[in-house]
């Protein structure tokens, strides 16, 4: 599963992209965030407060309870601050 990180999610984890293989109990975006949080101290810090995390599947914003389809591109990032 291909996961992308942006802004301080990226800098806390220390990389912008990684390939992960979560267990089959990880079904939704929220499941994946909770699982990633356990992967390293950097992940733990990035996913420490899920209120601050937004997600996209295949480049569309999604809610935490969205199931992850097979072969999807998942991205985690802070609320946007553009313009």
């Amino acid at each position: 599963m291909n996961v992308l990180y942006f802004a301080w999610v990226r800098t806390k984890i220390g990389k912008g992209r990684e390939d992960v293989t979560p267990p089959s109990t990880v079904v939704t975006v929220a499941d994946l965030a909770a699982w990633l949080r356990q992967q390293s101290p950097g992940h733990a810090e990035a996913f420490g407060n899920l209120a601050c995390i937004r997600a996209a599947i295949n480049q569309e914003f999604v809610e935490p309870d969205t199931p992850i389809p097979a072969g999807a591109e998942i991205a985690f990032f802070p609320p946007v601050t553009g313009g």
Partner: protein, 155 residues
């Protein structure tokens, strides 16, 4: 109907002229240019870097431009959003809309800017004169959506 994501500076005047040229159905052109403001007296910020999500940015900007064209009768429109490092006074974002009628041009330009601010996947990292960097917090309005996840302050 054009969307451009680029690191290079742009020239607001030249972009408006190009958009309006040759289409005599255009009665009015509205534009908005956003600049890197000087916050240095408050915070010491001298520059910033805009990170974005390549691919998703183009996709979202094209979606919203399509939405604007469905809501208003537009003759032409343009969105330019920069990414990368910018110093105080540099232009960041440009929206231009052209229509037969002035209200359509104004409303659609404002709609596009509101949307860019809240939905386009860009993140600002500010630099202070002492070389430190920090990520800019999202605006309050975003905290409504955040309530679905839980309720602690971000950091």
């Amino acid at each position: 109907m054009t969307v451009r994501i680029q690191a290079e500076r742009f020239d607001t005047g030249a972009e408006i002229d190009t958009l309006a040229a040759g289409n005599t159905a255009i009665g009015g052109v509205a534009s908005f240019t956003g600049y890197v403001r000087d916050f240095s007296t408050e915070s010491g910020v001298t520059a910033m870097t805009l990170e974005h999500y390549p691919g998703m940015t183009e996709r979202m900007l094209e979606q919203i431009e399509t939405e604007a064209r469905q809501r208003w009768q537009l003759e032409a429109s343009l969105i330019i959003h920069r990414y990368g490092r910018m110093t105080v006074g540099e232009p960041i974002v440009l929206v231009v809309t052209a229509a037969s009628h002035r209200q359509a041009a104004f409303e659609s330009a404002e709609f596009l800017m509101d949307w860019l601010k809240t939905k386009a996947p860009f993140w600002k990292c500010e630099e202070t004169a002492d070389g430190r960097e920090h990520w800019v917090d999202a605006r309050e309005s975003d905290d409504l959506a955040a309530a679905r996840w839980g309720g602690l302050p971000c950091g």
